[in-house]
């Protein structure tokens, strides 16, 4: 099972780096959706011996939400706004990938003293979840469109989710559902806001939303 977990970790890293190097927004959404599906498998993988109904339920919920609902929402917003790609990001794509690798190094270096206790957990989980968080942040900071920022936020959430499922394990279901619901609502709200922004401004370029300052 550890083998599978390692695979998931590697997939996470790869999707993150690919995200950093992709300019087409459709592709980005798909990547994030794929990441969501991969993560959805995690609860099942963690409890290798006894896969309970709870883990399955969580996995299904996660896959549905992250793999299906969010992408659809974002695709719709994208169609409304009528844009296809991220134009002229603050940080170029190749530099972004280097920054991603640097972030990975930083994550590993930062967490090298921390030994998170837990059975059958890959030592890479915590650094990679931190790495995913950083990539999400980087995406928010370095991309111009509001959609990209939502994507960044989703990646950030994915990082946290990784940590949550693997390390903390069985947090009470109610909390987890509350968390999922909250994230869902967050993305939903962001979608609505993007919709309105698009209607009011005729663009969803967050870079140009800078009238409030000082």
């Amino acid at each position: 099972m550890n083998m599978l977990m390692e695979t998931v970790v590697v997939l996470l890293i790869l999707t993150n780096l690919m995200l950093l190097g992709t300019s087409r927004l459709f592709a980005c959404i798909r990547l994030v959706a794929f990441q969501g599906v991969v993560l959805g498998c995690l609860p099942v993988l963690v409890h290798s011996g006894h896969v309970g109904a709870r883990a399955v339920g969580l996995a299904v919920g996660t896959i549905l939400l992250k793999g299906v609902v969010f992408p659809r929402l974002l695709f719709r917003a994208l169609r409304e706004a009528n844009i296809r790609r991220e134009v002229d990001p603050f940080v170029g794509y190749s530099v972004s990938i280097f920054a991603g690798i640097l972030a990975l190094a930083v994550s590993i270096w930062t967490t090298r003293h921390l030994t998170i206790p837990g059975p059958g957990v890959s030592t890479l989980i915590f650094p990679v979840s931190l790495f995913t968080i950083l990539v999400g942040l980087f995406h928010i900071v370095s991309r111009r469109t509001a959609i990209s920022q939502v994507l960044g936020y989703l990646v950030l959430e994915n990082g946290i989710y990784t940590f949550a499922v693997v390390i903390v394990g069985e947090v009470p279901l109610m909390v987890e559902l509350g968390v999922l619901l909250d994230i869902y609502v967050a993305v939903f709200v962001m979608g609505i806001t993007i919709y309105h922004i698009n209607r009011e401004f005729d663009h969803i370029d967050a870079d140009q939303l800078d009238s409030l300052k000082g």
Partner: protein, 648 residues
Amino acid sequence: MSLFFVGIGVLLVGGLLSAAAGRNGPWSGRLGALGAVVGCGLALAPAVGVLGTGVALESRLPWPMPGGSFRVEIDALSAFFLLPILALSALAAVYGTGYLRPAPRPPGAHWLYYNALVAGMALTVAARNGILFLIAWETMTLASFFLVTYDHQKESVREAGWIYMVATHLGTAFLLALFLLLQKSSGSLDFDRLEPGTHAGLLFVLAVLGFGTKAGFLPLHVWLPEAHPAAPSHVSALMSGVMIKTGIYGLVRILTLLGPPPLWWGWLLVGIGATSGILGVLFALAQHDLKRLLAYHSVENIGIIALGLGLGVLGVASGSHTLAVLGFAGGLLHVANHAAFKGLLFLGAGAVLHATGAREIDHLGGLQKKMPWTAGCFLVGAAAISGLPPLNGFVSEFLIYLGAFRAVSGLGTGVAVPAIAVIGSLALIGGLAAACFSKAYGMVFLGEARSGHAEHAHDPGGAMVAPMLVLAAACAAIGLAGPWVVRAIGPAIAALAGPGDLPETGLLGRVSLGAGAFLALAALLAFLRSRLLAGRRVGAAATWGCGYAAPSPRMQYTASSYAQPLTDLLRLFLRTRKHLRQPGGYFPGPSSLETETPDVCRDRIFEPVFRGFGWVLARLNWLQVGQVHLYVLYIALTLLALLIWRLH
């Protein structure tokens, strides 16, 4: 003690009633002033009692405030400060009822703040707990701020209010540091449990900065020349006469808490006193605005008080009881004296302003004939503030001089050198003050009216004249009854100089004798002249114009020209700006000369500092440029920085 609280209560209730009376202007004013007078009278009784018996009154009420306790005590020192505060407040309140008529708006709020200011001052002086003290102190600040901004429709008044508030509030910051350092060892802010610990010097400097801002030590005085002219005149009288003295009170109170002073505290005070005194009077000399001139004189007189206190500290530090007594007696007595004559002068200036609508000295003139009562009172004040015998200003300056001469003639160099500075600066201050007040009095009241403003002036009503008369009488009485006055305030002096008799202060009796002889001789000579002139021809003519046939009032010497030799001589400090339009050509057109003397300290010290701060702060604007990317970046960087910093 309960009388004191009742007095404070009456003050506040009077203020509230006055505010509640709202639109009914006359009643509102009467209620407020009545509250002030009755409240002051009631609170005055215990203060007089304490000075008479020498037994301190104390009271402690429950007050659930961490670190605070409602401890109030009237000891000799408090009683001494209460006396001028309450007396002048009552007089200025009476004056105010006349001064505020006709009022542009209902005076209720004004009286509320006025009475709150008086209550705040009284409580400041009586508080025996740091927190209580600070609350009273800040209440005083707040109330006086609203009094200063009475005419807030004027830009200059708003500016003055801002400067005043900023200055006093920043001063309070030093006081916070002071009190919190003092309570560190015991954890209680009660005065009797404050301990200086090992850094008494730092505490003293903090006290000088914090209290000095209120008192108006140079260069912390910048608010004074703005706030005093802006306020209504009876408020100026109150602020200049007694409110700034709460700063002096704070300083001496802290002195009693800091333990035996080293010599350098005395040096510091003398240095501050000399600079404040000399530069204060210099700035005053260069002013054209009567109330601004008076405001600068407050700086000067605070300087004289600091000189006295400095000598007192030197006396304590060097173990010379005589010097300590003379210094502190001079300093303290000057507090009361300044309250009397500065109050009087501001009230007089107010009467002039009320009658003519002009504060510009160069627009006035000839008021002696039109406002004889005001003029007479103003003359007494002017002579008193110039330190001339037989008035009260001389008495306190005499004590300080005497102390300084004693120090020079008999004590070691460490004391004698600052004492020489005291003598030199007092002499210079005296000369310059006489110059300044001969200008102020002469130009405003003597000669002929220089403009239409002054043509139709007349004395104000009884409500305004009576307080001035009382104050003028007080100036004369303290001047003639010096030894008794000093003996009456003996307990307060002993609180600072240490227990013991009051050596040498009896010499004031000789001064009084000299003054009496002078007055008798003057009466004799006046009689002699009237006998001589009786039956002879006494004619009246125009002033001799040295041959010029058509003199006009506009040819009179003006205040600016009067002061010009001195201001030119000392332009190094004054930086007077001249705007000269010279006559030229064969048929010269109109020409003019205007001078203005802005405050050097404000222009050269505070404005650059404030501008520097502003520059630095303006540089921080890039933090908030509207880019949400950057905002998230800050968060990310903060997170990373903390992770790296705190974990490794």
